[in-house]
Symmetry: C2
Amino acid sequence: MADIPSSGTSKQRKGNGQPGSDYETGLSEDEQLDIRIWLRLLTCANLIERRVRKNLRDKFNTTLPRFDVLAQVDRTPDGQPMRELSRRMMVTNGNITPLVDRLVEDNLIRRDPSPEDRRVQHVRLTENGRQALDEMFPAHSSWVNNLMANLDRDNASQLYALLGELKTSIQTAERDED
Amino acid sequence: MADIPSSGTSKQRKGNGQPGSDYETGLSEDEQLDIRIWLRLLTCANLIERRVRKNLRDKFNTTLPRFDVLAQVDRTPDGQPMRELSRRMMVTNGNITPLVDRLVEDNLIRRDPSPEDRRVQHVRLTENGRQALDEMFPAHSSWVNNLMANLDRDNASQLYALLGELKTSIQTAERDED
DNA sequence: TTATATTACTTTAAGTCTAAACTATTTAAT
DNA sequence: ATTAAATAGTTTAGACTTAAAGTAATATAA
């Protein structure tokens, strides 16, 4: 996960000679800034994720992917097809199958075949699953809240907006890729 | 990875009645903002990570953790102990061992026992590893740069600063935990 | 209609990751 | 010096993740 670039190069690599270039890395200031944003982003995400994982394990004896499935499934009253789960969770299809298998075993969710399309399985919360989620959800919020408690509210709003800009930039770049 | 909270609750959960609370989630505006920051952060991190992983595989037939190890090892001329690698990469100790094993097999790094402390193994780049990294590093930068190309430079600087604030907030909260 | 492509999901093999238990070594405290 | 505690690294079992290949069902197109 961590992805910290070093000089990333042998001593031979020279600066590009342009203003704002860095002798060590051969990157322009803009390029360096981008990399630093990426690394800081990753560090923050890792720190938060680590805390959430630890608390889910310690306090609810579960894992983040399991919590994610429950939270996702709960987003729509009629449950969701597997493909929708994998799309929302940003993981591959093959990942979801065994994850859902285990949650079904534990009677937290169930699979209902779609009446319209026999390929589709709708995943829904069981009563058990709902209860579990109702306990976990506020705790999860409070953990995140706690980690950001020292962040000034104006800064928080701005950060949220800027992350939106970043997201747009990424999606634009990915769209142009194709 | 994705961690999208839904209503996360049955219909029974009521708003907390305070100004700015949300009937659906029972979260205050501040709490909602924090969760939204977290989710957006995670989305951005996932999008970038996914692109980097895909490009590492397609163009260099390698993986992100492998690249991370090489980049980390390169940061200090005399290599680094395993514990330092795991600390910097924010993964557990047990993760590093097989990862390093595979890279040693491929002759990209080597393990040198520390002369001072017989428990310690210093991990260093081989000439092969240096060459590989020298090819990968600029490519890696350009991928990230590309994803952020549509981000205004002022916004980028601000985002970097705010992520710093967030990081501090998280670390403060974690410190208080202990 | 019939062939072709697409879609939803599962399976497989291999890599990554974690927590926990373990070994070997070093450090600290008596 | 001897014991206890801490540290570096490895190993283990299990969960998660991916890409790629496979199966079944649906949609498209000729």
